[in-house]
């Protein structure tokens, strides 16, 4: 299965390279498919003056006020992200991305797999894959379901669940990968604004919880929730998980553990430069159960009485079959 994805990724990657070449010639029109769509391609994000969050290790960071970016090896002058009026404006960068498979199957031997998110930066001004002009953040999120976090405390010598917090729409899966650690990419309030990163995941407590639990306790429950999800492998954070393999082509591989709940996964790709969000892109991938796996799961949840009877029949038959088999052998 992994081989097949790999193949499809390669094929798709080749395709998107072709698309990029065509698009950058014509001036950068975002191509959107049925399942994908550019979202919030707000041009006002580009000219906004913002101090870079942290200096990049690889490139000497130009002051945003300076009109000419000092490129180390090539002499072609590039405008700074905040191009002053009157200067020749390059078309704004846009990001496009796709996922290696439209749907991923959870089969009976599902041991976990991976999803590859890849894409391109249109109108890339990056001189080489290593230049580090852009930061890309890939966040894949699974559908929300309510979850209960319980806390144990010692009650008369026994460790019992004594308090609980209910959260609405907790993402079943959240994997974030980036070109470098998130805190180096942008200021924390910028990340918080777009809900990027494990700390900024929107975990809203249910009404009855906010009424019964004070704010500091609730914070403990929230951190516990993401810690438990991290331990289950359902929430992951890969600081260097996105790599550029060309001036504009990037890819990221995200692990899907075996216990990831089925459903729609939303992949969001964010393009940052110097701490400012330039563009973002959203695409989807379905995670579904197939084969006998799906049959069992659906039967157990949708026709649970029949399922129970079916289990008993299997138990009776296997018990009788075994005794007949061994009875014959024994005698």
């Amino acid at each position: 299965m992994a081989v097949r994805w790999n193949m499809s990724w390669r094929k798709a990657a080749v395709l998107s390279v072709v698309v990029v070449m065509a698009v950058s010639g014509s001036g950068g029109v975002p191509a959107t498919g049925a399942a994908t769509g550019a979202e919030g391609a707000s041009p006002e994000a580009t000219p906004k003056q913002k101090k870079p969050a942290l200096a990049k290790p690889k490139l000497p960071r130009p002051e945003s006020a300076s009109p000419i970016r000092p490129a180390p090896s090539v002499t072609v002058p590039l405008p700074s992200p905040a191009a002053a009026p009157g200067e020749r404006a390059l078309p704004p960068e846009r990001i496009e991305a796709d996922v290696s498979a439209r749907s991923i199957a959870v089969t009976a031997n599902f041991k976990g797999s991976e999803v590859v998110v890849f894409g391109t930066v249109d109108n890339s001004r990056q001189l080489s894959p290593e230049a580090g002009t852009y930061d890309v953040v890939v966040a894949v999120e699974g559908g929300g379901a309510s979850a209960v976090v319980r806390r144990k405390s010692n009650l008369g010598g026994l460790w019992l669940n004594t308090s609980a917090a209910t959260f609405d729409r907790v993402p079943s899966y959240y994997a974030v990968a980036s070109t470098r650690p998130l805190d180096e990419i942008a200021e924390s309030d910028e990340l918080a604004k777009y809900g990027i990163g494990l700390e900024n995941l929107s975990l809203t407590a249910a009404e009855q919880t906010t009424r019964s639990i004070n704010a500091s306790e609730l914070r403990d429950f929230k951190t516990a929730l993401s810690r438990l999800k991290v331990r289950e492998g359902l929430y992951t954070n890969d600081d260097y998980g996105v790599t550029f393999s060309g001036r504009s082509l990037f890819r990221s591989t995200l692990a899907l553990p075996a216990n990831v709940p089925v459903g729609q996964l939303v992949a969001r790709v964010y393009l940052f430069r110097e701490g400012v969000l330039l563009n973002r892109f959203t695409t989807r991938v379905g995670l579904e159960r197939t084969g006998i796996e799906r049959f069992i799961y659906e039967a157990a949840h949708k026709s649970s009485w029949l399922y129970g009877i079916f289990v008993v029949i299997i138990a009776v038959l296997s018990g009788l079959a075994a005794s007949m088999m061994f009875g014959r052998v024994g005698n």
Binding site: N161, D168, A300, V311, A315
Partner: protein, 304 residues
């Protein structure tokens, strides 16, 4: 080689669970017990959610006791009428137990409840078995002859109303005690994932005074039907029966039981009971330890 358990929602090593089934099957063949009180704890210790371990344990017991029950029935060792009364109680107990599982899961106290039940039952039974086997070993060592325990034929139990005649057991007694015993055992099946033979057999012998030749057959007969009922109810109410897991355990279990039975023939009864008592106490201690030791993670996560 891994397999995904669709209800437990975890990916497990096939061979680990096959050998777990085989080991418990071996022990149950060796000791002549159902093995549910070893299987369900083992599942919990390997990380299967308690409720799934309990629900699936019941399904596995159906498989491991059905052929024994059939054999006993063919040998005319089943008191059908008494079995049906016990079963009626058992089904009622299972219905109550399954509802209790549902409520306890909703309030997040099921895990600790199961642990406490196991500590209590395994503690009492393990200690009694240990004392009994040790005193038998000592008496045999001292050269004393042993006679089967046979106490008086009547007690307060037989004075209760709603009397019924059980011809096969040569009993004329009230239906209330067998109903109550059946209900209690059915309740245990639902909340602990055990067959309950370790309660049923002594209760039939000492409380109901059922002749020993029909005790095992009748109790097996009751266990098959009550565990089957509990399985269906757990599946319908709590969705906690994992057919893939159950099948792995059955497969390992039936093979292990064959070897256990032949190995058991070579060991003396009181030595076997001593070993079993030791094992029961170990499982009990493990549960007790988990209850009182400070957990490394105080928080836990459940579906809302």
């Amino acid at each position: 080689m891994h397999i995904y358990l669709p209800i437990a929602e975890m990916s497990v090593n096939i061979f680990l669970f096959l050998s777990m089934g085989a080991a418990v099957g071996f022990l149950s063949g060796l000791f002549g017990v159902g093995g549910g009180f070893l299987m369900t704890p083992l599942l919990i210790f390997t990380g299967v959610p308690s409720a799934v371990a309990v629900g699936t344990g019941a399904a596995q017991i159906v498989a491991s006791s059905v052929s024994g029950a059939l054999a006993q029935y063919k040998r005319n060792n089943v008191d059908l009428k008494l079995g049906l009364v016990l079963m009626a109680g058992g089904v009622a107990g299972a219905i109550i137990g399954v509802q209790m599982v549902k409520i306890l899961r909703e309030i997040g106290q099921f895990d600790v409840f199961v642990s406490i039940c196991y500590v209590l039952f395994l503690g009492v039974i393990g200690t009694l078995m240990m004392i009994e086997s040790l005193s038998t070993i000592k008496k045999k060592g001292a050269g004393q002859t042993l006679s089967a325990r046979r106490t008086g034929q009547h007690s307060w139990v037989h004075g209760l109303p709603f009397k019924m005649r059980f011809t096969r057991s040569k009993l004329y007694t009230s239906v209330l005690p067998p109903l109550a015993i059946g209900a209690f055992v059915g309740f245990l099946v639902a909340i602990m994932g055990v067959g309950g033979g370790f309660i049923m057999v002594p209760a039939m012998i000492y409380l109901l005074r059922v002749p020993t030749n029909v005790v095992v057959g009748t109790s097996l007969f009751q266990i098959v039907f009550v565990t089957a009922t509990a399985t269906i109810l757990q599946a319908a109410t709590n969705q906690t029966v994992d057919v893939v897991l159950a099948f792995l355990l059955m497969l390992g279990g039936v093979v292990g039981a064959q070897f256990g039975a032949s190995a058991g023939a070579k060991l003396r009864g009181e030595q076997l009971r001593f070993l079993l008592a030791a094992m029961v106490l170990l499982v009990c201690i493990r549960f007790a330890f988990d209850l009182v030791a400070e957990p490394r993670e105080l928080f836990s996560l459940a579906k809302g």
